[in-house]
Each structure stands twice: as structure tokens, then as C-alpha cells.
């Protein structure tokens, strides 16, 4: 890639860094085109990682994120000939057991300076300590279990609202908008699903008429459905991923249970509708992510690059990758300084203003409710976060 090096590039790089980073780095970049900026705009043998499921049952969620990161890296490389960044992919298949080995592998690769991911909460939990130990900064664009931020992992960052805001948003939608008097709560025993379902159940309190736990990979939910029917619930909340959600709602409708199906971001994927068909109609999906219509420019660029519209968390992943890329462009080409960069970062992403607090949580969060209508997931309304 070195043949790409051109003399004009540093100037372009510096200009881009100036527009992208806003206030924090403005001071340094005042003398655009000077020596310091030129040095900052070059880098060699650096990579950022993507960590998450590219295969396995919930792979779509991982692929959305990978594509967001890929777009950010491609745009960066196009604009900065002197600073070519490669993307390393760590395919965990969403499995916490595989995550530890992959995290160690990422730590061992000195060129990898930052990681977007891990995508899911379970794998984040098992890989987190390893990243913290290795000092490799991570920004997850999708893992929403609140407990992840409470581990004192200096390297952990989360670029979206967690389930401590999504859970109450889901329960407020159930009680205020749907006005359901009885709710049945189901979870899939995963770090993410069980955590979220617990928050929702706690928040709803007496309205909860029953709970059940299924297993990922399970395909027969007859006992759970019998329990739902028996409870006479008006709404069913499911904490889990789209594969099981599709089966569950399809079997629910097949058994004649008409309760409103409410789910969260792990189900916000076309794979849900693919599996459930007409049974998916009317499903309510909460997500701490903005509708794609809100980010027109990104939307078009993404469609041009991958031939599909950006899906859940593609935009968040794009933002996360850009935080790293800007840092690398500023000359933070080792893990330690890039970590400091991320910790002190302040700037505007396409999804939200980005600034991480001490635990790694992003300050600005919003939760939206989506609805399945005519086989599409469409934005319904923004939900108040308590």
C-alpha cells in the first residue's frame, strides 16, 4: 500500500481531522499543513479490530456492525493515503467461550490499536477482562447489559444507551402506550436477554403475571406458550435475539395467543421477519438507536458500499470506528495513547454527541420504539428515558 503515499495527502488529512474532531483538537490543527499535522497524519502498520458474530445464529447483528466499521475504515483510507488502516475481524460467532481466545489473539497482534465490539453482552463479559489486561481500548456498538460498565475495565466504552435505559423505556411503552394490564416476561438466559428481562420485569412490578426462561437454540416453545395462554397476558415481553424471537412469536400466533409481542434491540433485524412471517406483524421493538432516516448521508454511502440499507447499529459502529480512526490520525499510534484519546474524546458522531464518562458509558442516549408493519421494521416513536 505504500505506493499510495502522496505529498498532498498530509494537507488533506489535517483538514479532515480538523473538520471531524471539532473542539478538542482544534488548537493543534490551527497551523494546517505545518510540520506537526503532517506527522500526525501518517501512520504505518496499524489496524482496528471488529469483534463479534459474523457466523452463528445471530450473525446478522454482527455483520451490520462490521459493515459500519468497514465503511468508516474505507472512507478513512481513501481520504488519508499516508495513514492506511486495516480492519482485523474477530468472528466470535456470538459465543462467550470463543471470545476469550479471540481476545487474547487480538491482544497479541501489536498492530491492532482499538476494537469495535464485542458485539454481544455475553462475549463482552468474558473478553472484557482480557482487553483491560492488555490495555486494548474497545468501543461496543451494541452490547447493552448495564453491568458491563461496572467492572472497572478502563478499556471498556459503550457508544449507545444500555439496558438500564432501554428496559425502562420498554416497560414504559408497555404500560403507557399499550396500556397492558398483564404482561408475561420471557428471556433466553443470555447475559443480554436475562439482564434486560429482569429490568423490565422489575420495572413493571405487579403487572407481570408470569415469567419463563427459554434456551438459545431451542425450537419448541409449547410449554412456554401454554404458560402464556394460561396467564391470559395482554402483552409478552421477550429479552433475547431475533432467531428465537421469530420462532416464539410464530408458535404463539399458531397456538392462537394474540398478546402483543414486545422485544428489544436484539430482535431488530429482518431475520426476525424472515422467520416469523405474518406472525411478526404488530411486534413492538425498542432500540437505543435512531431510525436510519435521521442520517441521510451515511445511509446513501452505506447503500452504495454494501448494496443494502444500514441496519441495526451500523451507524453506531461507524461512529465507534471513527473515534479510533480520528485518534490514529492524530498520531496516537499505540494502545496507551489511543486509550487516553478515547477516554477524553468529545465530538459529534452521526448518531449522537460522543463523550464517554468514567465508566465508559456515552452521555447522550435516546431510545426509540419501532413497529413491524407490512413486513418492515418502521420507526414508531421516541420513548422517554426516565
Amino acid at each position: 500500500m505504500r505506493f499510495l503515499v502522496k505529498t498532498g495527502a498530509p494537507l488533506l488529512a489535517a483538514a479532515l481531522a480538523l473538520t471531524a474532531c471539532g473542539g478538542t483538537t482544534g488548537g493543534e490543527d490551527e497551523g494546517s499543513g505545518g510540520g506537526a499535522a503532517a506527522e500526525a497524519g501518517t501512520c504505518e502498520d496499524v489496524a482496528i479490530g471488529f469483534f463479534g458474530a459474523l457466523t452463528g445464529a445471530a450473525a446478522n447483528l454482527g455483520i451490520n456492525i462490521r459493515n459500519g466499521v468497514q465503511l468508516a475504515v474505507d472512507q478513512h483510507n481513501e481520504a488519508n493515503a499516508d495513514c492506511q488502516v486495516t480492519l482485523e475481524e474477530y468472528d466470535s460467532a456470538g459465543d462467550p467461550n470463543q471470545a476469550t481466545g479471540l481476545a487474547t489473539q487480538a491482544i497479541g497482534d501489536d498492530t491492532v490499536l482499538g476494537v469495535v465490539g464485542p458485539a454481544f453482552s455475553g462475549e463482552s463479559n468474558s473478553a472484557g477482562p482480557i482487553f483491560a489486561e492488555g490495555g486494548l481500548p474497545t468501543i461496543t456498538a451494541s452490547a447493552t447489559n448495564p453491568a458491563l460498565a461496572e467492572n472497572d475495565w478502563d478499556t471498556f466504552h459503550r457508544i449507545l444507551g444500555n439496558d438500564a435505559s432501554q428496559g425502562p423505556a420498554a416497560s414504559s411503552y408497555i404500560s403507557e402506550v399499550l396500556q397492558s394490564a398483564s404482561v408475561f416476561v420471557v428471556d433466553d438466559a443470555s447475559e443480554y436477554g436475562a439482564g434486560l428481562a429482569e429490568i423490565v420485569a422489575q420495572d413493571l412490578g405487579d403487572v407481570v403475571v408470569g415469567t419463563d426462561t427459554i434456551q438459545t437454540g431451542q425450537t419448541d416453545f409449547s410449554a412456554t406458550i401454554t404458560a402464556i395462554r394460561d396467564s391470559g397476558a395482554e402483552a409478552v415481553f421477550f429479552g433475547g435475539y431475533y432467531a428465537e424471537a421469530g420462532l416464539l412469536v410464530q408458535q404463539m400466533r399458531g397456538a392462537g395467543v394474540q398478546a402483543t409481542f414486545v422485544v428489544a434491540d436484539g430482535v431488530k433485524d429482518p431475520g426476525f421477519i424472515e422467520a416469523a412471517g405474518d406472525a411478526a406483524e404488530g411486534t413492538i421493538i425498542t432500540c437505543p438507536c435512531l431510525p436510519p432516516e435521521e442520517q441521510q448521508e451515511f445511509f446513501t454511502a452505506f447503500e452504495d458500499a454494501f448494496g443494502t440499507a444500514p441496519a441495526t447499529y451500523s451507524a453506531e459502529a461507524y461512529d465507534a470506528a471513527n473515534v479510533f480512526l480520528e485518534g490514529i490520525l492524530e498520531g496516537n499510534t499505540d494502545r496507551e495513547s489511543l486509550l487516553t484519546w478515547v477516554n477524553e474524546y468529545e465530538g459529534d458522531g452521526i448518531t449522537k454527541p460522543i463523550k464517554f464518562d468514567e465508566t465508559g458509558e456515552v452521555a447522550d442516549i435516546s431510545v426509540w420504539a419501532y413497529k413491524v408493519e407490512g413486513g418492515e421494521i418502521v420507526a414508531d416513536q421516541e420513548v422517554e428515558v426516565g
Binding site: 419463563d212 431451542q218 425450537t219 409449547s222 420462532l247
Partner: protein, 329 residues
């Protein structure tokens, strides 16, 4: 407890439906074990390919639910035929590629077991990567409806609408429930008669009893083994269609869990015993449902396997014992 008793009919019927599918898949394990004393761990993939064959038939025909009943039956029979053919074919292919040479060389059973596990991974991943395979041959445009979202659940466009037939207590038994339970029992009876009464069936029993003596008596051992794999595969194909009618989706890795359960059902009923397979399937399906109802769905496998352990403690050869070879003519 009161929940279990209040909903006993619903839990029983849905448990039997699931158990029927377990039982039909279990047949494949039990037959091969009876003849070769070998556990064909790739059998779950035989079932999975059958389920995709059935799905693809409905996709190719562009089936919409709620059409005339006769059309629905026609489509289902076609799907059944496709599933049986593909499953039977895959089973034969497995025998040819993963087993035959090893058996000829009289390799240790463990080697054949590993070979089967390898074949299982290969087949499952091949299905999961089918979109890439199609891309490689440049056939994406023509085959897109069959291969898109290769890693996701693929929906079976069931031409037959689920309809309530009659009520028992608070549960309305549907046409699908009846078709699956009755279908499984009929197939089991048919298979049982096949093994008892036909020439091929006698060959299977002879090889199961003593393959060397059978060979000396003029039984073509290779042919019998092929027939065993084929019959097991065809049953798995039927199980695939029944499964899809009830559960509606399949996936490249759906065979794994079902395979483990079906194998359990085979052991529970007495591996090597054809009738035991269906009985084991029903018992396992019911145990899972009752267990879920009593202590929550997260315990269903615990309950099911606890039952297996307890039964094996008292009846080490399973409920009906190992008896493919000893079945009376």
C-alpha cells in the same frame, strides 16, 4: 403443580407432537446402531437436508397459505417426497463416503464415529454457506430465493392452515397435531412390518444378529447396510416435513439439538429397537413438556436427561431393550 394439572391436555398433545418427530429421527440412529453397532452422528444432518428440501419445494411452487385443501395436500405430498428423497440420498451418500471404506478395512468403531462427526460438520456448514457456494458458480440470480440469509432461520411456507378440530378440556387439538401424531405412528407401523415381513427386512435382522453368519447364508451385507441407511434417511425426511408443519422454520444448525434429543430418545427406548425409538420419542417429548411446566422451561433438558439416567439405571438397555436382531419374524 396446579399449572401442570390445569393444562395437562395441552402439554400432553404438544409433547406428543414433539415426541413423534424425535421418534422418527431416532429411527435412523437405532437402525444403524442395530446393524452396525455404530452411532451415526451425521444423521441429524440427514434430517436437516430433508427439511430444506421440503422448504425449497414450497418456495419453488410459490405456495401461499389458505389455498384449497386439495392443493395443500398435493404440495405437502410433493414436499414429503422431496424431503424423503433428499434425506435418503444424503444418508446413502454418508454411507458411501464416511463409512463404507472404514467398514471394509474393519477400522475401529471410534474411527467411524469421528468420520461421522466430521461429515456432520461438513454438511451443516455447507448448508450454512450455501449462498457462497451459489455465488461461486455464478448462479445467484437464479437461485436467490433458495439461498438468501443462509445463516438465518428459513421459513416453511405451510400450505395447510392450522385449524382446530376438536376440544379436549381447554385445549383445541389442531389438524396439524393429528397429522403429526397419526403420521408418525403409521410410519412406525409400516417400518415395523417392513422389517418383520419383507426380504430386505429379514436381511437387516440377519445382519443385526450376526453379520458373518448372515454373509455365509448368502445375505449381501453391503446391500443390507445401504438399505438400513436409506430407510433411516427416508424416515428422517418424513420427520423433517412433520417438524416443519409444526415449527415452521429450519436452519443450517437446527439438526444439532434435534439430533441429540433424537439420539436420547433412541437410547431411552432401547437403542437398536425400532418400536423403542417411537416410544422413547414420546416419553422424551412428554417429559420435556411436563418438566418445563413443573419447574420452568430452563429446566426442560435437566428433567429430560435426569429421566434418561434414572431409566438407564434400572433398565440399562432402555425401555424396550436392544432387539433389532431378535425381533420375531
Amino acid at each position: 403443580m396446579s399449572f401442570l394439572l390445569n393444562n395437562i391436555v395441552e402439554l400432553t398433545v404438544t409433547g406428543l407432537v414433539l415426541g413423534a418427530v424425535y421418534g422418527l429421527v431416532a429411527l435412523g440412529y437405532t437402525l444403524v446402531y442395530g446393524v452396525l453397532q455404530l452411532i451415526n452422528f451425521a444423521h441429524s444432518e440427514v434430517w436437516m437436508y430433508g427439511s430444506f428440501a421440503a422448504v425449497w419445494v414450497t418456495v419453488a411452487l410459490g405456495v401461499a397459505p389458505g389455498g384449497p385443501v386439495l392443493t395443500a395436500i398435493g404440495v405437502l405430498l410433493l414436499a414429503l417426497l422431496a424431503a424423503m428423497t433428499v434425506s435418503g440420498g444424503i444418508a446413502l451418500l454418508l454411507e458411501r463416503v464416511a463409512y463404507r471404506r472404514l467398514l471394509r478395512l474393519e477400522a475401529p468403531k471410534l474411527v467411524a464415529l469421528i468420520s461421522a462427526i466430521g461429515a456432520s460438520f461438513f454438511l451443516a456448514e455447507l448448508m450454512g454457506l450455501r449462498d457462497r457456494v451459489v455465488d461461486f458458480f455464478g448462479l445467484r440470480d437464479a437461485l436467490d430465493p433458495f439461498v438468501r440469509s443462509a445463516r438465518d432461520n428459513t421459513r416453511f411456507l405451510n400450505p395447510l392452515e392450522t385449524q382446530g378440530l376438536f376440544s379436549i378440556g381447554r385445549y383445541t387439538v389442531s389438524n396439524v397435531d393429528v397429522i403429526i401424531i397419526v403420521g408418525a405412528i403409521l410410519m412406525m407401523v409400516g417400518l415395523d412390518q417392513f422389517i418383520r415381513r419383507t426380504r430386505t427386512g429379514r436381511g437387516i435382522r440377519a445382519v443385526a444378529q450376526d453379520s458373518e453368519a448372515a454373509a455365509l447364508m448368502g445375505v449381501n451385507r453391503d446391500r443390507v447396510i445401504r438399505a438400513t441407511f436409506l430407510v433411516g434417511g427416508v424416515m428422517a425426511g418424513a420427520a423433517a416435513l412433520l417438524y416443519l408443519m409444526r415449527f415452521g422454520v429450519t436452519r443450517w444448525d437446527a439438526g444439532f439439538l434435534l439430533g441429540v434429543k433424537a439420539f436420547t430418545a433412541a437410547v431411552l427406548g432401547g437403542i437398536g429397537n425400532v418400536r423403542g425409538a417411537l416410544l422413547g420419542g414420546f416419553v422424551l417429548g412428554l417429559a420435556e413438556n411436563y418438566g418445563s411446566a413443573l419447574v420452568g422451561s430452563q429446566w426442560r433438558d435437566v428433567v429430560a436427561f435426569l429421566l434418561l439416567v434414572v431409566i438407564l439405571l434400572f433398565r440399562p438397555t432402555g425401555l424396550l431393550g436392544e432387539s433389532l436382531g431378535r425381533a420375531r419374524a
